[in-house]
Structures are given as C-alpha cells and as structure tokens.
Symmetry: D2
Subunit: 351 residues, 4 copies
Amino acid sequence: MQEVTQKLFFASDYQEGCLPQILDRLTTTNMEHAAGYGLDPHSKHARELIRTACGTPEAEIQFLVGGTQANEVTIACALHPWQAVVAATSGHVSVHEAGAIEAGGHKVIELPQREGKINAQQVEACAEAWETDGNRDHMIQPGMVYVSQPTECGTLYTRAELEALSAACHAHGMLLYVDGARLAYALAAPENDVTLTDLGRLCDAFYIGGTKCGALFGEAVVVPHPSTIPHFFTQIKQHGALVAKGFVTGKQFEVLFEDGPDGCLYQRLGAPAIAAAQRIKAALAQKGIPLAMENPTNQTFLVADQALLQRLDGRVEYGFWERVDEDHTIIRFATSWATDERDVDALLGLL
Amino acid sequence: MQEVTQKLFFASDYQEGCLPQILDRLTTTNMEHAAGYGLDPHSKHARELIRTACGTPEAEIQFLVGGTQANEVTIACALHPWQAVVAATSGHVSVHEAGAIEAGGHKVIELPQREGKINAQQVEACAEAWETDGNRDHMIQPGMVYVSQPTECGTLYTRAELEALSAACHAHGMLLYVDGARLAYALAAPENDVTLTDLGRLCDAFYIGGTKCGALFGEAVVVPHPSTIPHFFTQIKQHGALVAKGFVTGKQFEVLFEDGPDGCLYQRLGAPAIAAAQRIKAALAQKGIPLAMENPTNQTFLVADQALLQRLDGRVEYGFWERVDEDHTIIRFATSWATDERDVDALLGLL
Amino acid sequence: MQEVTQKLFFASDYQEGCLPQILDRLTTTNMEHAAGYGLDPHSKHARELIRTACGTPEAEIQFLVGGTQANEVTIACALHPWQAVVAATSGHVSVHEAGAIEAGGHKVIELPQREGKINAQQVEACAEAWETDGNRDHMIQPGMVYVSQPTECGTLYTRAELEALSAACHAHGMLLYVDGARLAYALAAPENDVTLTDLGRLCDAFYIGGTKCGALFGEAVVVPHPSTIPHFFTQIKQHGALVAKGFVTGKQFEVLFEDGPDGCLYQRLGAPAIAAAQRIKAALAQKGIPLAMENPTNQTFLVADQALLQRLDGRVEYGFWERVDEDHTIIRFATSWATDERDVDALLGLL
Amino acid sequence: MQEVTQKLFFASDYQEGCLPQILDRLTTTNMEHAAGYGLDPHSKHARELIRTACGTPEAEIQFLVGGTQANEVTIACALHPWQAVVAATSGHVSVHEAGAIEAGGHKVIELPQREGKINAQQVEACAEAWETDGNRDHMIQPGMVYVSQPTECGTLYTRAELEALSAACHAHGMLLYVDGARLAYALAAPENDVTLTDLGRLCDAFYIGGTKCGALFGEAVVVPHPSTIPHFFTQIKQHGALVAKGFVTGKQFEVLFEDGPDGCLYQRLGAPAIAAAQRIKAALAQKGIPLAMENPTNQTFLVADQALLQRLDGRVEYGFWERVDEDHTIIRFATSWATDERDVDALLGLL
C-alpha cells in the first residue's frame, strides 16, 4: 500500500518550510521596496503587534535568525563580563550550543534539573552561595537565570513557578531570561497557564520562537525594558546576527501576530500539534508502551523495545534520545504545525 | 502624474524580497520533510552545483545567513589566535561591521586603498615588515588578506591582480579570502575577467553572496581545501550561525546554480543591473554630472550639487555617501536584479 | 606573655615574601644587565635545570606570574575553539578563577569529585559520551583534562592514577594538564609517588608552582612537546602575561632548581611544611578534633566547634572553609616553607 | 683595557633589577605575614600615597605586573563591547602588544601620529565622523583615547595638549587613558609641565609605570572615579592578572611614593637618566651625528652611519630601530635609573 511505504516524519519540528499564510505574505509583498536591517514598516508593525501581545509597550524587539543565535547574542549582551548565566544541566545553552555561551565569555552554572526544570529555591541557593562566600570577589557572579518554556523535556513551568523564579532573580539582582524556541506549543497546551503577558511581566528578556513554530526562520527577542541591553542593535551587528533583509523576518512575525477573529496565529498554530501528541500518548498508554517522561506539549518521549524499533525501522523518522539497556531505547516523536493527521493515523497503526 | 509621485528606489541592492524562481521553489517544496542543519538533499545538491561551478571538487561549503556573519565566522575560524587579517581601509570588515572581527579576537590591519583595492605589493610589504621586525614575536602576525569582489567602491580586481594577491599571500604563509557579497554583479560586468573557477583556484576561502544577489537571504562560504578550517560546522554552531532549517538556504542556492540553457542563474542575474547602471552612468556623463569614482558594476557614485539633490528629494531613495563641500555631496544609486527599467527611465528624467 | 599575644599565621601559604636564598640571589645579581622577556641567561639556565629535573629535554618552558594566569593562558592557548576543559567541580578553574577560562572562550565541563580528585573512568565516560552522541557536532568537545597536584583538598594523585588519567586522555585525543600551584608540598609528602619526571612523561602541559612554594612570585609552565602550543610566546604577550624583566622569575627558578648536595631546593623546601602539618594533625587526633578530610600535604581541614573557634579568635589567622551547623565550622590551617616551628608549638597550645 | 672590553648597556630601561631602596624594603619585610591579593597594609598604604600624590582621594588603584597587562586589562574593563580605543599608529597598543586589545574584543582605531603624538583636533574629528555617520549603528563607537606619556618616541604631551585631549574626549563621551610606562622620565624632564595631579584631574584612567622606572616589576593603575570600571578586582582576577602576593608590588610602590626630604622617590628617580640622555644628545650634536627625532626624555634616537655602528659593535648594546638606507640606521640609546655615569663616559668615547 502506498501509505505504508511512504515514510512518516516525526523526528523534529523544524523539518518543513513554513505555514502557508507566511509563504503567501512573502509572495504578495515580494517586490515591495523596503529599508534594510529591520527598519521597514513590516518589522515595525510586527514589533507593535508583539508589544501589544506581551503587554510590554516599551519593549525593544529584535528579530534574529535562530534559537542558538538568540540565546548567544542576548545572553552575551545582557551579562556583564564578571557574570555567569545559571541553567539546568539539560538546558539548551548547557549542552547543545557547542559552547556558544562560553565562547562569548560567560560561564554556564549548571543546576540539577527535574523534568527539565529548575526552581526558585535552587536559584536562591545559588545566589546566596555566591553572596555569602568570603571568596566571592574571586568568583563569577550569577547574573542571569536561563529557562526554556517549554523545556527541552517538553514540560512547562507554571505561572506560579515562573513568578517565584522571577522574584528570586530580582531579589538577588539577577535577570530572568526565557528561551521560547517552542513557545507556541506551550501556549497551545491546555495545562499551560503562562501567557505572553506573563512573560512580558516576569522576564527581563525572552524570545518568541519562530523557526520551530511555523516560520521559515526567525525568533523575536523581547526586552521589556530596553535599558537592560544598551546598544543592542550595534551589538547584534557585531555578533554577525543582523540581517540586511530584516523585513523577511518582520513580515513573518506580522503574519504570526496579526489579530484575527480567533486571536493571533501564534496563539493557535500549536493546537493541532498538541492534539496529535495527545493521540500518540493515548495510544502508547493503551498499548502499554511506557513514556520516558510525561509532558503536555508536542514532544513524546517513550521507551521503545527492540520489537517496536523494528516496526518503525525504515517507516518512521524519529529522534533517538538515549539507550537505556540492550532491549530498551528512549526515542522521541515530535509533532508540529506541519503534522498531517493521516500521518499520525499511520504511526499509530505501527505502534 | 502617477509615475512622478511614486517613489523610485535606488538606495541599495537588498531592498526587495527575492527572484521569483526562488520563491517558486520555496513554495513548491514547502511541505517536503527534510533533515535539519543543512544535511538535507537540497543543500547537498546545491553544494555539488557550487563545487562544479567553482572547480573545487573537494570544497567544504557552508550556507550562512548574511555577509557580516560570513566574514566574522569565516575569518575567526580560519585565523589562529596570534594572527590578524589585512584589509583595505575601505573594506567592509574595517568599517561597517561594528568591530565584529575584533570582537572575535583579531586585529584588522588596514592598508591604504586605491579605488577600494589593495595590491600584491602592499601585501608583500606588510608581510615582510612583520617577518623582518626584530620585535615580531611581540606583534600580531598578518595571517590572511581580505578583499571584496566587487569592492565596496564597485570596482573589480582583475584576474592578474587576484593572481598576484594570491601568490603574495601564499609566498608569505597567508590565506586569501574574498568577500563576494555582490559577486553576481562582478560576474555580469563585461569588464570582469575573474570567474568562479578563478576564485576556487586562487582563494583559501570566499563567499558567494546571495542576499544582495537575488536570494531572500544567504551566503555560500566556499573553502576549497576543507582542512583550512577544521570543525567548521561546530564552530558555525558555536558562533550562533547555524540555522535549523538549512534547507531554506540550500534550496535557494540550488535555484541559483542549477544549469539552464543559458548557464546558471547566478551567472546571469546581474546583467540587467549592470545594464541599468550603465544607462545611469551614460546619462550622468551626458549631463555633465561627475562621477565620484568610476566602476563597472551595479553601484554608481556621483557628485550631486544642491540643485540635483532638490530634484531627487522625495522622489528617489538613494544612498548618502559623503559631503564634499557646501554645494556638493557624493551619493550612490544602486541597481539590482530587482530594478525595473521604467524606474530607470523615471530616474533619468529627473537628472 | 609576648608569645601569646603575638598573632599566629596559618591562613595560607602565600603570606610571606620568599625563601632567603632567593632574596640573596636577587640582591647579588640586582645590577646585572640582562635581555628582557625571559631571553636572559638566568632564565635560559633555569629552563635547562627544569628540563633536566622533568626529563623533558625538548620542553618549552615559560615563566608566568601567578597560578590563575598560568591556567588561563595555558588552557586558552592549548585548546582549539571547539574544545572544552574537563575538571573536578572543586577544581580551581571551576570555582575560584572568576570565570577566566570561560572569558577565554572555553567551557569547563565539571565532573563530580571525590576528595578533590577525578579518575580515568570518569574521563573516559565523558569522552565517550561526546564521541557517541548523535548530536556531537552541536556539542563542545572535551579537549583537555585539568587536575591539580596536590588537589584543592590537599590530596594527592598516585602515579598509577595519573598514568590512568594520561592514558584515558590520550586514548581519546585529549590533553592532560596538571596545576602544580602547591607542587613542592606534594613532592615533599612521604606518601607521594609522583615525581617531576612522571609529570614530564604523562602530561601535555603542567606548571611548577613558585608563588606558594617559596618564590616571591612565578610559575613555570612546562610543555614537554612544544608543538602542543604553537606561538606560545606571542600568545603569552597577547594575554598580557609576558613580563619585561623576565630574568626576575628566571633567577628565582634557577635558585629553586640548582642542584645541591641534597638535591634541588624545590624538592626539599616543602618538607618542614609537611612536618608541621603532621604535628598539627597528630595533635588534633589526640584531642579528638575531627578532620574534615584526610590529606598528606600542607593543608589541614578540621571541624572546629565554637569553643575552639573562641580559643583561636584574635590569636590565629586561619582559613574559613564552610559552616557545617550552628556549632561546627570547617576551617583550614595551612603551613608553608615559611612556617616557624615555635608558631606551631603555640598553635598546638591553643587547640 | 678592562673598561673598553666590558660591554655597555644602553638597549633598554628594563635590563636591571630594581632600585636598592626597593630591594632593602623587600628584604627587611620579607618574613612579615600579610593578607593576599593586595589587601595587605603595605598595598593599602601605597594606594593612599598615590592617591595623595595624584590628588585623587577617591581613586581605585590596582597594582598590575606589566605594561601590556595594564593596558589590556584596563582597556577591556573600561570599554563597552560596542566601543573601540583610539590611538596613534605608533602607540604601544597599536603595534607592540601582539593584538592584545583586539584579543580582548576591541578595535584599535589608529590615527596618524606626529612625533608619537595625536591631538585633540584629531580626536574630535574621529568622534564627529562616527557621530555624524548615517551608518554609525553599524560601526564601532570610539569610546576611549589612549596616549602615552612620554610617548613611544620619548616626546611629551604638554599640559595644554592633555587638557585639550581631555576636553575633546569628555565632550564626546569618551574616556582618556594615559599609558605611563616611563612616567618617571617624563616627571624628571625639565621641559615637562604635566604633573601627577594633572593626570589625576584630566584622565579617566592611567597607569604609573614601575617596571621601567626602578621597580622589580609592577604598574599602578589609577582610576580617579571608581565607577568608571565596575568590579575591577574581579575582572582583574578573570584576566589572570591578580597576584596572590600583592604585597610585593604594594611594598615597591610604598617605597616609590613615600615622602622624603626631597619629595618622593618616583619624582626624583628619573633625573640621572635625563641628565645622562642630555649628555649623550649634546655629544651627538657636537660630533654632527643627527638625531632621528628630538625628545626631552631618556631615549635618544639617532641616525648612525656604518662607521659608528662598527665602533659600537660588540662594545655597546643598543636598540635597533629602523634601517634608513644602506649606510644609515636609526638606533636607540636608552638610559635609566640604573645607568652608571662611567658607562656614559665610555659610550661618549666611542661616538
């Protein structure tokens, strides 16, 4: 049968182009003339839309190209030379950015994680350890906390948890930064109670992910109080992160944040991915295939035995996570804005 | 009249989206599933096409997003810590990258330019000055020469000049790097005798510009001998310059370098821009408006008096270059793949 | 009584000037004329003496000023940009260098320590984790292992342990670097079986500490195979770590490594410090005051109760380490080449 | 004859140990116990003495080890990431620090020099060029001016010139930094009208050179308003520039700045060097040997012909500067606190 031999793609959420609405907009506006470097009307409009959505009327918003770039540039520009960023051991900046934060001159102080998260108590203990150490002038100062929403494990911080983290940071003179690479999938998760305005209210900087959330590329870095990062534009240029045709990113975020009858696209685009993930999780539960960890977003981490891996082999692209033992492997199915429900049907048929 | 009140855009060559062929390809392939980080078939194919076009079968080719990024990352990765890059005082890396090269740890040794160019004698003198200085172990070593083709002034290196530069570099253990941000306009200029295979033969690294040459974004960094830059992929990641959806850039360069009945698009796309620039230059000559400097590519630098500036005011977007005196200003008209011939007509009518 | 009111100094091993032999040499040679930057005969002689002592006839030896500088410069110069250094969580580079390694661009991968040490199995696991990770091209590569001899806890690596670490490093393409800030106290400890020639044979770089071992200042960085760090001299200059009057350091290491009837001074100078530390440890044992951890070198870490702290108060300078609970605190007594036996007597009288 | 065969040393001013008063102090205080890292009473006293001498009661003063280190650390810590330092093409930071400033992330904007100096007009033009450039957000901002007193050519800034430079800097939001590697020889020159209090009043940071001015090593960085460089201590540690036995430098500057019947030693120690240089210059004039450039301090740059070079050969160590033509070479005779008048006699006999 055709359907069976066609490969199913659940390896990641950045494997297709972009939402058709974005491609349409790029097409219809293609030959418009515009100023470069994000100074064009589309970028300006997109910034206004994001400011409104986040409740941050004064925010500086810069469009960057990718997530590691957003982290590297924002963290380097927000920290002083004598400061470090604090992150979970599982944080993207800790393990999967090829040492980009350190290449920018800053230590990543890694805290033990629980389901991909760190908490306010850990942050306070970390800050107090530095503050009360007699040798602290010989030590790097924790200057910022980095968390991801959703986390690298697909889990979510609750509003109360983020509020506690924010309070802990600010009580100790630290900045709170949220990596929102997959933020649309958090916003679309029924369990989620953290809104864009919560991020705008609690964070000193965060980015709204586009690449994994339906854009061709692009992340919107939001700095609610611009004085947090002086000369950000020039520093972005210095990091090689300023694009000449900034309007290409601006147009995409314009599409994502324009208000429609059902709210803006960014708030809605993750829903099908969450629904698909829930179907997968339900099917796994039904078949007694254990999850490696629970989470309410678009990634499903499961413990596959050899028999299952053989059934998937050659038919499904999935993410390899970790070998548990000879017969068990943790793998990941990622759904996204691009996931076709028929592909989910086909995947469930293979489980 | 409608045509007169509509604004004319000659400010730069990165003010519109992209060639329609590129948009078509992105559209028709939008929902294809592909591996991330440039490991997809489109990127691989584009690399093969570029290798063939440049006569560099072994070359490592990495797609980056913009010109400053291409310069910053490639130079930082190719130089040793104790080495500097040598460039014209007018070089993009010298003045218009916000200190990105130095932020990466390397000095830019600036040599006096003539029409935007430096020559082999200067390079040799620079290398020999270091080699013969008794204090050279206390001095940064010139490790690479940076030139642009076309230069920031729109002028072109001849093949003989590039051969001499390449020989001078290699005689003194230096690398030759060419910034090809506007390379398509060099290739399309009748005066040009430097081909892609010349670049492949003479350079240790160069990039083929996409952003200013009809792509939505993207530059192809070509390293003819991959050992010149070890672990380039990881270093690109570390610089925050690796994009998840690498296939978006790959598809664009695939379109630009696919062979057609008249050769590949990249070889042809600059021709209308050159023709338009020639029409502008001829009109200026006819009207006795002096050029600030001659060049055979898509940028026209002219000395405008106040009367001309007033005629252009509000009707034409152009590039401001430099005030000469109270009554004279150097300005730039840039044409591009996107220039409409009717706009050129209208501009000529205003001169 | 005079002796009781005079303060006793056991806070650290860098609180006095230098061995009288060193001061004598500086005095008698003070008005000699010499070349700068370590190119003088004394520095050359000192290098030869160290090469002989370490069994490394080809070694490049550079004299730096302090321990953090030696670590920062050597690690930055030996690592490639895509590499990290692996160290114990208690390593000096991990906690007490104000982020110097990261400011130089490199991550410190921290491994759990046991009595201040890490072992070959941990190093192998760390290397293999990177080698076998499907995402390793997105990850920093472990490129060097950093250990201290003695460790920050005063413990010693055995020869067998160092051999295993060296083998693990070299099996995985990593360098082994030993921080010898207090190396003289290791060499003088009866339990020690690691010689200078062992270090020369097993390490890719190490430094022989002067500052804490009787010199006015200065550390000798030894690179057994000079090609390990190209252009080291220029890189030292670039780090601001080259001193004009290099002969001042050279003369000191000449004194420390000149052969005498009982071997060289560096091999002997730690013995009285070890003897003094043993007397302190014996007295603590006798009085039932527990050690926080055992070690055979010049630092004694003990758990002091409030009564003891009161007896010491105002009379003894000691190092504060960590509060255990309301009534117990870990403190450190450090002895050194400068410790006066009568001060030890007086200290024991207070315990 | 003994006197003739003994070599004469005029190559530099860092070729001998230190002033006997310094060695005496190090000797008599050698076994004192003191806190580390410059927190000891000697360092504190030395700081007070320097604050008084410079009329900067609030100044932060940090003792570093050498001149390149003082420049590299102070400039890196005082500049923001988006800023560059402006210096003469002949400035030490421009040519003889192996790219240390750039390795710290900052561009050195080089201005043409005249007798080693730059002036306020040049600085203003440089600042205004940036301020008025439409592309300035893509350009590095001139954030500091670096000058040396005396300059690398031995010339002096007048008080009026420094006041103009200071005013130009502050009018454009830039810092003024003075490299005083040879400051004692400026202070001792009869032509000099720039005092330590002038430096304290006009500069945002400067360093008082010890290494070339009679100390064993050490430079005192003075920051009149400490808020200019936040967390300077920790940043010094991070640069590997903090020495454990800071008291060794502190004691030396205590000796240099203690008030005596004839003022402090630092004000007086350069006088014999200046007198010796004047004798040399007078003798050259008398014999018709031309100077390469005039200056009133301790360096004499002369144009030597082959005959003279042969007379000096093997008898005098001097500094090679630059070959002029086949028969003429610019060489340097440097005098210092350590110059013996009889050696000057012998040198004059050879001219």
